[in-house]
Symmetry: C3
Subunit: 135 residues, 3 copies
């Protein structure tokens, strides 16, 4: 009831749509009702939910996020120079819960699940843990 996937991210900052990956793990587990957690065990990546119909939404989110948390600030002390990525990871969160209902992920029409890369490109781990409700 734990699934792990490797996800290759394409660039320094990117959202990779993992909705189908999560959905296929839920179906493989064969549960009808329950809660799942989708986690990425990294401190410069995250998991979030947003529109997956128009790719311009992701463009705008990354650009807005970067404007508010730019790659470098004069006061940054962390030697690796990726404090902006740590900030973004904490704000989006590295572990998100989802509802499973009638054998499928309960998502809205426009909702997709994204693995968020803020310090790539890299290969990231995506872990899905499933807890079924008693019948």
């Amino acid at each position: 009831m734990i699934f792990e996937h490797s996800v290759r991210t394409p660039s320094a900052q990117a959202f990779v749509d993992v909705t189908n990956l999560v959905r296929s793990s839920v179906r493989q587990a064969g549960i009808k009702e329950g809660h799942i957690l989708v986690a990425t065990p990294h401190t410069t990546a995250a998991v979030t939910v947003n529109e997956n119909a128009d790719p311009d939404v992701v463009h705008d989110l990354l650009k807005r996020f970067n404007k508010v948390f730019p790659e470098h600030e004069n006061f940054d002390r962390h030697g690796e120079g990726n404090s902006h990525a740590h900030m973004k990871s904490s704000l989006f969160g590295a572990c998100h819960p989802f509802i499973v209902h009638e054998g499928d992920l309960l998502l809205g029409t426009w909702q997709g699940i994204y693995l968020c890369e803020f310090d790539g490109p890299r290969t990231r781990r995506l872990i899905i843990s499933i807890l079924a409700r008693d019948p």
Copy 2:
């Protein structure tokens, strides 16, 4: 063990207190101990927790959030012009977990649960999924 409610939001951006709605679903389910998820299946709305005693707190939160993520940025590409609302939805999150203890929501004295509207007014879905701990 899944409850769905419709929530009418009053304006373009607003926090609607849904604490009593969530609490009543928990009581109706009749569980004593467990975890619940409160979700809104939309990409321009969210769920959050904050003070519900002084309405000025919500005023300040919305104003601060709007200053950082204004309604329009020159670089926005998304044709619907509501990228700010997608950003806010991702940051607050569309699905939040809560603890149920001794038959009731475990919340602090000042904590209330809000459905956050960022692109309203609209009628939004609020879904509550309940997972009991084995006795």
Copy 3:
């Protein structure tokens, strides 16, 4: 299966590493697989996950967060003058889920769990609720 700890925070804004506290509760519960919630029932504190190897990361996060959400804004109405702390609490979130796998918290190499103080110093409650997966 619910544990409560008191955590003393050292200053107005600080991240206190509670990873070992959470880990010890998971071991005390004796579960092998499941999901847990780590919550702080306050509206000016939060729970988050980030790097716990280099303390400069926390320095940079707090400074970046403070730049974006400064302690005072001219438009703030809330009489207690701590709206920035409410904003930060909502953004990081007061309740986070984690996966338990093979008897231990499933965290990445660099991930630590922090209790975030935004209006201290104070003594804060930290609550850990554990839901085991059926064997």
